[in-house]
């Protein structure tokens, strides 16, 4: 990556709003995401954080706003207005989406190896041996035993399914990964291992990521910067430790003080 692309944001979101009739999904959300940066989005249930992610991923059509993304060939496109073929191609190659429930992100009827290989086949790789070898390499990277390559996802544990989902997304070397509650539904020791893995991968691959979660411990470990959302609006943003250790907004103070410390 050239230095010039490092001092410009990878993704620039401005005025992103989504209304569901009279209900507000999210309102005037804006942020910049820089190359190699992990942005955490926190807030209570219904605060609009998942709506923001869904708008970016194209599964929900926003009411207003722009999201300028810098592509590999250094052109800037508004992903919210991209024609569908281009958007679907972007989602398959340069973006990754990690769902909260691995069942939403994995193809449950085919083996782990095929799950990892799917994106490669989608971009035109037609060599079985190479696809399989890449799948094995990625399973190793996400700490799944390579002898599980021919197992169905249903036969893997919850933590392994989540790591498989990550491998499946990273196989085409995306530059931006959207994660919705990546540790949801996992027990704490498995969570810790997953977070450790994610932190390593993000640093190693220079990934940018947007992590949506209600779990402040997750963002403290993963995110460089934080957006705090409430009722669809961003109420506070800043460096993660700054926001968590010195919250300014009343709602952030409430959120931070609600965390139980064992």
């Amino acid at each position: 990556m050239s230095t010039s692309s490092l001092d410009r944001p990878l993704l620039s979101v401005r005025g992103l709003s989504k209304r569901f009739g009279a209900q507000v999904g999210c309102l005037d959300v804006g942020f910049d995401l820089w190359p190699g940066e992990v942005l955490g989005v926190v807030g209570e249930s219904g605060s609009g954080k998942t709506t923001v992610l869904a708008c970016l991923a194209g599964s929900v059509e926003p009411t207003a706003g722009t999201a300028k993304f810098r592509t590999r060939d250094d052109t800037v496109v508004d992903v919210l207005r991209l024609a569908e073929p281009a958007r679907r191609r972007l989602l398959r190659t340069d973006w990754g989406i990690v769902h909260q429930n691995p069942r939403d992100g994995l193809r449950m009827s085919v083996t782990a190896g095929a799950n990892v290989g799917e994106r490669l086949m989608a971009v035109g790789v037609r060599h079985y041996g190479r696809i399989r070898q890449t799948a094995l390499d990625w399973l190793t990277t996400v700490e799944i035993d390579t002898d599980r390559v021919d197992d169905l996802p249903a036969n893997l544990s919850g933590g392994m399914q989540q790591r498989l989902q990550i491998a499946r997304n990273l196989v085409t070397s995306p530059r931006l990964v959207l994660m919705d509650e990546p540790t949801g539904g996992l027990d704490v020791s498995v969570q810790a291992r997953l977070l450790d893995l994610l932190r390593g991968l993000v640093a190693e691959l220079g990934l940018s990521a947007i992590v949506v979660t209600h779990d402040l411990a997750v963002v403290r470990l993963l995110a460089h910067r934080l957006l705090v959302m409430r009722r669809g609006e961003v109420v506070e943003s800043g460096l993660t430790d700054q926001v968590l250790d010195d919250p300014q907004h009343a709602y952030t103070q409430l959120l931070v003080s609600s965390v139980l410390h064992p």
Partner: protein, 276 residues
């Protein structure tokens, strides 16, 4: 037969079906919807093929009907009789004599020639159906050529069985563009689709779709570079006519496990045994 139009369907319906056929020929491999009619046979028995045949057949045509390679099984006999009664055209069992051939699950062994039309009966036209149940989504995948996921299926087969286990209805790419189900013909017949001099038409009655492979169109069976497409082979020749390099059916001949391998194409087998 009085009370019915020539070839059962009324002329307006035939024109509608012919328009769909023209469109299908213009876009090789693309599934064209058509207003499928109720036919006097049940879905799954070839209602799609019968409608395509009925819209094309003329008084000068010579019709052959094949069911699993044979001319003398229920489906073939019934459909042949149907067209004999409703059109009065000459029918034949000989591939070379026919101008119009309706078939279920086989392409004849005798090479087709220019000017012949082969109509195949299709149970499920959509090749992406197994992985995507939504029709709107599969159409979008066709439009955007998002066919990579089809190879996921082949990957699974090779992983589980060491080879692609699909032996019939083996998916193909038509003219480097549309992904197509060739109907449940054995994959042995797939190479016959490629650059065929005859016009190949596919009719799906239940799902009301028509698609086509025009003459001389390249048709490629999906495969991997290191697992190329292969057709079935047999260790023995046909037990009746000693033909090799043809598709053989296994027939159980007694209660002691005795079996014979014979030509699936009865016309081809008979012609070899008693040359005309």
């Amino acid at each position: 037969m009085s009370g019915y139009n020539f070839a059962f369907l009324d002329e307006q319906t035939k024109r509608m079906i012919r328009r769909s056929i023209l469109k299908a020929v213009a876009i090789p491999g693309y599934q064209v919807p058509f207003g499928g009619r109720e036919m006097p046979l049940s879905y799954g028995w070839g209602t799609g093929g019968v409608q395509v045949t009925a819209s094309l057949i003329g008084p000068d045509d010579v019709l052959k009907v094949i069911d699993q390679g044979a001319d003398d099984t229920t489906n073939a006999v019934s459909i042949r009789k149907f067209f004999e009664r409703t059109t009065g055209v000459r029918t034949t069992t000989r591939t070379a004599e026919a101008t119009l051939i309706q078939t279920r699950h086989r392409i004849p062994e005798t090479p087709l020639r220019a000017g012949q039309v082969l109509v195949l009966q299709v149970p499920i036209p959509e090749p992406l159906r197994w992985l995507e149940p939504r029709e709107a989504e599969t159409r979008k995948m066709h439009a955007l050529e998002e066919y990579g996921v089809m190879h996921v299926r082949l990957y699974e087969d090779i992983t589980r069985h060491g080879k692609v286990a699909q032996t019939y209805d083996y998916p193909v790419r038509v003219d480097g563009r549309y992904l197509m189900r060739p109907s449940p013909i054995p994959k042995f017949d797939n190479p016959k689709l490629d650059r065929s001099p005859a016009l190949l038409l596919f009719g799906a009655g239940r799902e009301k779709r028509i698609y086509a492979v025009p003459p001389h169109t390249p048709v490629k069976s999906l495969d991997f570079e290191d697992h190329p497409f292969e057709v079935e082979t047999w260790r023995q020749p046909c037990a009746l006519c000693a033909a090799t390099g043809v598709f053989l059916d296994e027939i159980i001949v007694d209660d002691k496990g005795g079996r014979l391998f014979v030509c699936s194409d009865t016309d081809h087998c008979a012609a070899r045994r008693s040359p005309r």
